[in-house]
Subunit: 241 residues, 6 copies
């Protein structure tokens, strides 16, 4: 089956080639873990390397900031927009949630013949709906994106930074998605390092290691698994096994 490559080489290897086509992917992690960066790379690499156009749905009211941030990694979003390969959609969560608000994406999807989409973030949606509704609305939105043939990546910002008890989200939506990627901040040697793990990927084998990753001016770089620690997933690991 066709794989949707992120273009982040080591991560695609972890995914055994890339995301599954039309899957909905959840990327969850604490503030500063790199969720938005991962989403942007997924779209830009799609547009520039794999001929798959993409839409970035942001609930930030200041589009400038997103262009600026992307530039940090050498990504020129405006150029891609001019080439009709990428589109930044800034909207309000309540518009997307209301009635059949998801159809406000119809036009953009059609114009770009988009194959990829990023929803950044489900945490913003959560400001506008009750928890139980949130799950239903998320479900409806993700299903809509599937019917549009899109492989979607949605982000969730966990409020927990570290902890012995660890859940993907505070709102229990992970069973609604096909793939769950967890980013964690990990204190080692008094430095908050970054870890990435693929927890779930329906219908595919996948790497199960907790790997360190970094974000530099070329974007995300996934490296080898942590070694010599236990409890990486808690964010406060201890030396040893």
């Amino acid at each position: 089956m066709a794989r949707v490559k992120t273009g982040i080489v080591e991560f695609d290897k972890m995914l055994r080639g890339g995301f599954m086509e039309r899957d909905s992917i959840l990327v969850a992690g604490p503030p500063g873990a790199g969720k938005t960066t991962l989403g942007l790379q997924y779209l830009v690499n799609g547009a520039t390397q794999f001929e798959e156009n993409g839409i970035f749905v942001s609930f930030e009211q200041m589009p400038d900031q997103i262009y600026r941030d992307a530039a940090t990694f050498g990504l020129d979003l405006r150029k891609l927009e001019r080439e009709k390969k990428f589109k930044l959609v800034c909207t309000s969560p309540d518009l997307l949630i209301a009635g059949d608000g998801e159809h406000l994406l119809d036009e953009s999807i059609g114009q770009l013949k988009a194959r990829r989409i990023v929803i950044d973030s489900l945490s913003h949606l959560a400001m506008y709906v009750e928890e139980k509704s949130l799950r239903k609305e998320t479900y409806r939105l993700l299903n809509y994106l599937k019917t549009k043939q899109l492989t979607s990546l949605s982000t969730w910002e966990s409020s927990q930074i570290v902890g012995q008890e660890f859940s993907v989200t505070e709102i229990g939506v992970s069973f609604l998605v096909d793939c769950v990627v967890v980013l964690r901040l990990v204190e080692i040697g008094s430095v908050m390092r970054k870890a990435l793990v693929i927890l779930k990927m329906i219908g595919s084998d996948h790497d199960r290691a907790l790997r360190e990753f970094m974000i530099n001016s070329h974007g995300i770089k996934v490296s080898k698994p942590f070694s010599g620690f236990h409890g990486i997933v808690t964010g406060i690991p201890r030396k040893g096994r």
Copy 2:
């Protein structure tokens, strides 16, 4: 008493031959632990090896994905459907919950003379009812399946990944079922490995070890108990005893 074999050899041994006939089984675990795969194998093996036809009730709106996922393990669901040995029922949780919604399964059960059923998942039901009602609705549904002579396997996706405090579900339904199988993700050597344990099995002896299992192209393979660690059940075990 007759045993309902899963066809997963080592797991059937753990069950001392298989599930008890007409029991309701709960399979609980975090995202990516393999609950759906276990459910699919239970049904396909039933149909192909034990002459017991089965129904897979999914609340996913995209049946294609389930066929595709099953194919990963060499399972051809469409062929089984043509042979009237298997049926995939995609429905909405609220239909199943409403009034005597369970009767929408009557016809499928009759056509197949089904003996096995999988409800994937109770977590989806939980989106549509209050917690207290959820327990009552689950109870009613499971009892309905028993009166239909079905051995049912229901899944629950725990939002907790690891933790010192561990409960089977967040909603307290384990006393409603006859058999509880828990899947856990376990961080060892910076890799999220998979553990399986049978916690409860009314009226039968059963294996009590926390065993490692893997999912490969042949499906689920249960191997030997973890060794040299304590706290496997927390997901963040430590070396030693």
Copy 3:
């Protein structure tokens, strides 16, 4: 004062002879710990060894399963029923709770001249009433059973499997009963072993050890206390002291 023997030899020793007459006993534990088995043995042994007839109140809708399960331990409930020494009452929690629903037990108690009763389980009652009412209803029910000269054993299924913080129940009913027996699952060497401890027994000395027990075809067998571990009560003990 007269003791109500369970017939489980080592357990009766722990109880310094047996339960206190007319006491209400709570048996709490996670799924699969053996609560129902303990209740059944208490009644069958009473009827066959101590000339005390007993009633098993179940909220399961399938009485067959209970007969079947008892048979696993060599207990022939139907025979005892024919001899008027035992009665299985299957009812709905709301019937027992409503108005003076406890009087639906009057007739059975009278017919058998019952001295023992098992309520399996209070967790089922909890589905039908608010938490605060639950305590009051439980209190009323247990007091009713005392006025009927019955020594009652009620079960509660804890949703917590293991944990550093441990409470008898999630609903705070232990102060309503005279005797509290706690069953725990304990992970040792990657196996979930079973522990039993008597926490409370008003008006009597009792064993205070956390003892291992097993369930085999002869029923419950209590053995010696765990040794060489600390934190047995948490379910995730560590080697040492």
Copy 4:
């Protein structure tokens, strides 16, 4: 200032002679820790050794059980009742809480010229009032008892058995009382031993050690502090310091 002796020699030493006159004392602890026994000894010793009569307010509906339990420690409550030195008042929590329900105690207090009273337990009161009201009602009741010149001892049954996080009660009433005595169950060598500590005693020095105590046929016997462990207060201490 006059001290109200409990008659439990070692405990009175811990209290530097006894409770402070007219103080309200809270005795909190898990099921089976010995709260009721402590209360009974306080009253019986008062009546037989210190010429202070006392009232035991129970919310149990079966007074027989209390007489019986007291007999276990060689206490003949009925004899004391005939001598007008002791009175057992069995009432319902809602009667005591309603309007100025505390005045239902007026007559008993007057007849006995009572100086001591035990309320067993505040947990029963908690079944009949909302949490916020519970604190106000408790406060009103305890103040009423002071105006009657009584030194009162109230019990609270904690639902927590062991735990790293430890609070006196779940309902925050400790600031309403003058003296707080905490009983704990402590797992050492797989046995649940008993600990006692005086946390608070307004206007008096007091022992601050966590001491072991036992209950035998002579009643409560307080012995020396635990030694060689840390975390006694959590109930799951570890060897060492």
Copy 5:
């Protein structure tokens, strides 16, 4: 800037001379930690050593007890009252909270030309208002005291005794005060010792050590920091670093 000395020599050194004038100070700690004693010493020392008169606002209904308790430390409150240097105001929390209830303190403040005040305790206020209102009411009260040129000390009784997770109060009021002093009970060698730490002091340097303190017949005596333990702030420290 002028310092408001507590007269507890070592504590004043920790405060670099004393509290800041007109600050609002919160003293939080579990039952029995010495909050009221600290408050009383603050006022009596003010009146006798520093010519600053003070008011003690108590929500206890029995003023006698406070006079008695103060006497334990050699403090003669009645004498100070006759000299118009101190006043004990016993009132009800709802009076102080209602409308502009704080003005019931106007007269007392005026008569004494008071410079110091103790509110014992905010926990009592919390019985009469909702949590959100509590913060607003506390804020209003503390601001009123500032406009009256008073340096106020308010107490809060934490229900938590020990625990790995530690918060100053359960109700989040610490951001409303200028200075936060935390008292803790610390289990060392099976004895509950007392610790004191200044967490916050706006506009001033302060000692940051967790120091042991004792209360004897001369009042509070602060000594040197704990040594050789880590986790003092949790109340269940371990030997080592």
Copy 6:
């Protein structure tokens, strides 16, 4: 891109030059960690070293205290106010929240041509709105400040002091801001030391170490990362790795 320097040399290095222009920064930490001091330094250094005027929005009703506190670090706020480089705005949270209350800042922003603003604190806002609204109101306020070209720093006082489970705020607002700076109190050698870490900074590399800092008469001084401990972020670290 232009950097907004805090003037705290080592901190600016951690920020790779300073905050990003027009970003919204959240500074979260427990009472006494130095949040207000950091905010004041940010503004005063801006006005005196970088020609960027600033506004300090306080919800304290006593402006005097803020002038006084600033003086502790040698900051003369009144002089800066006279020079129209700084303005202290004391208001009530409900005024800022109501309708388009943020416009009450319009005039001050205009007069000063302000480029920097501090909101001290969001915890005060939380007293006046429901949690869900709080997030929306915060979002609206922060967006308003961006449209005014301000680089804003908002503070949040965490009620948790130390703990194994650590979240930036209790209210989940970190996904609404561009930069998250966390201050922690850390118990080492029985002293509460101070730690600072930059968790998130959109569009910029940043230091990821947990660094110690101190506040003396010259203000904040950031020093080197903690060394030889693990679990700094929990506040109760242990020696070793």
